[in-house]
Subunit: 375 residues, 2 copies
């Protein structure tokens, strides 16, 4: 920015409301970002809106509808730069101009190359004052998955782990039901529900006979309030099954929702709702970089990974993990138990993959640590 | 208690002050408990005191000295039942009676068999109203190590661990300097300073050439304020060295403070400030139960353990650990790295040693989890 914009307390308050509104869409807007909008005149809110679902109107449209004729000379607070292109809906920049809005406060520019800066330019060309950068950090955090995809062509990868205090995920025998508490397992549901897709392996699917779906009745009631069951979205389930070892009879296939099977050779019979993604370029392993690129290309913003120590380790070693979500049960399983992450190439402490604690919360009797990748 | 005592806000406030005073003695009173006393008349504090060091006056004596003649008909708040026996100082119950105190509020009865209930009985026999049980939980926590020794004949064992997110304490090569941050290592100093003794092994002493002392200049300034360097106490260092492999040239022996060497055969040459504890009853291992009993018998309330995965695991498997203090560095070391705890006998998840989170705190970039043993 060339000019330093000074925002006042009212600006801050309204933008924070816009961000809170935007968050309500976090279960349903994928592949679109979460956006909230608050329209204000004489320090009073005259319209609010947020983006609910791809294909449905953007936040600004709902807020302008509510404001009606009052929108003339009002200020709009938007968590993301208004769009300037015709997608599935007409450009919001035009709608704001047409409604006679006189000032637009934007939390941050849209990193989407189809928009970036053009929405703001169009508003300014129409004589609207545009102030940028209020609550930029919160707005960035709100859509970190969408932005990751826009900027890098890769999805935002969240790796979920559940371990004992000594970092073990199963006994030597394989026994692992249950290391963490039912509250921790339920907590996973809220993360699954927000992910574009869930990534796992045939081993995990077979071991736990996991369906890897969102179970609506296990979502916390405060989420159910803003996320009616009628709008329930099942994240795409992506299962690495290199040699097509899944029969199609597993629980996974008996739940509704799209499934991708990632293999190196063509499956003979394809279960219903399934499609296959062939990534044959590397012998004996799936090229994870290619897999993630394919996910991003198909507009997946975020991947929620539930898998064993091999996939977890491979993602970490290849620096493909953005966020770790680790549930620590307050018990010890000892040296014979199974390790959290297989990192075959790591020998020097200085090369250890480094994260930073983002949040730490008790979930039942377990501790949930969220960490972000450090460069 | 037969009668339910109702305490008011003033009572609560004064007892909390007494507990805060008691805590100031936590670096120096071992083997005695921490005790604080506040004397109040007409809702105004007229005397305060806390126990500073074994052999020095008890909390009540300092508080009574300050109150002087005003103590007549005043109320005394004491964090622990006043003593009734002649130890190194005369009984405090008598001092309270002689000063004309009319009411004594006691947080909890003394579990020390030489006192338990007799101090209260003596006060009541002298016509003083005694109310028991205010802030009992905080008072119990304050002296949990002393009480453990009194009740069980074993010291309160705190096991310190420093690990990666995946519970590893060193690379396969043995490289472990440093997994955790300097802040975490400095944080350890405050725990060492409060322990009666530090327990380690010849392996750890040799590996890190550790001196296992309290380094006054590394204590946080808020501790230095209440703990002048002139009163610095070095916890006894107890080193398991079954086969007398320490030469006496290690750093450990060049620092002031008492050292115990725990062995199965007689040492030929004994370094200065050292004594030997022979526990030969089991072949190829030290009977840890006997070692801890010997510590308690020598009036050690608490043991701070800094050791490797074998001693850590043995203490855990034998259910001798009361508290875990785990520093988690936000990095992953992988499956080849060294484990936190060797638990050779554990095969079933249901038998996993169980703890409960007591506190979770950021220390620099690391997370410090304190857990208490669950039955």
């Amino acid at each position: 920015m060339n000019n330093l914009t000074v925002f006042n307390d009212h600006d801050l308050q309204f933008m924070m409301q816009a961000i809170a509104l935007a968050e309500r869409g976090r279960f349903t807007t994928t592949p679109n970002p979460n956006v909230g909008c608050v329209i204000v005149k004489d320090n009073r809110i005259i319209g609010t809106g947020y983006h609910r679902q791809a294909g449905q109107p953007h936040a600004e449209v709902y807020a302008l509808q509510q404001a009606g004729a009052l929108a003339k000379n009002a200020t709009a607070y938007v968590t993301l730069e208004p769009c300037s292109h015709f997608g599935r809906t007409p450009p919001c920049a035009n709608a704001l101009i047409d409604a006679g809005i006189s000032r637009v406060v934007v939390a941050m520019q849209d990193p989407n190359p189809q928009v970036s800066g053009q929405g703001i330019a169009r508003l300014r060309a129409a004589g609207i004052r545009v102030d940028i950068g209020l609550c930029a950090e919160a707005a960035e955090q709100l859509n970190r998955a969408f932005f990751k995809r826009m900027r890098t062509g890769l999805p935002y990868v969240q790796l979920k782990l559940a371990a004992s205090l000594d970092g073990k995920i199963a006994m030597a025998s394989g026994e692992s039901k249950w290391i963490t508490s039912s509250q921790a397992r339920q907590d996973v549901q809220r993360f699954r529900a927000q992910a574009s897709a869930i990534l796992s392996t045939h081993v995990t699917v077979k071991k736990d006979n996991a369906s890897l779906t969102v179970r609506y009745d296990e979502l916390p009631s405060e989420i159910q309030t803003i996320y009616p069951e009628s709008t329930l979205r099942q994240p795409i389930r992506i299962i690495i099954d290199r040699q097509n070892q899944l029969t199609g009879d597993e629980n996974l296939f008996h739940q509704s929702g799209e499934i991708w099977i990632v293999s190196q050779t063509q499956r003979q019979i394809m279960p219903i709702n399934c499609q296959q993604l062939l990534i044959p370029d590397q012998p004996n392993q799936i090229n994870l970089q290619l897999l993630l690129k394919a996910c991003a290309k198909r507009q997946m913003n975020s991947l929620w990974v539930e898998a064993g120590a091999h996939l977890a380790g491979a993602l970490i070693e290849q620096d493909l993990v953005d966020e770790l979500i680790v549930y620590y049960a307050p018990k010890l399983l000892g040296h014979n138990a199974q390790d959290l992450a297989v990192l075959p190439h790591l020998t020097l402490l200085a090369d250890a993959p480094q994260f930073a604690y983002h949040s730490v919360t008790m979930v039942g009797n377990d501790l949930r640590c969220i960490l972000h990748r450090q460069p």
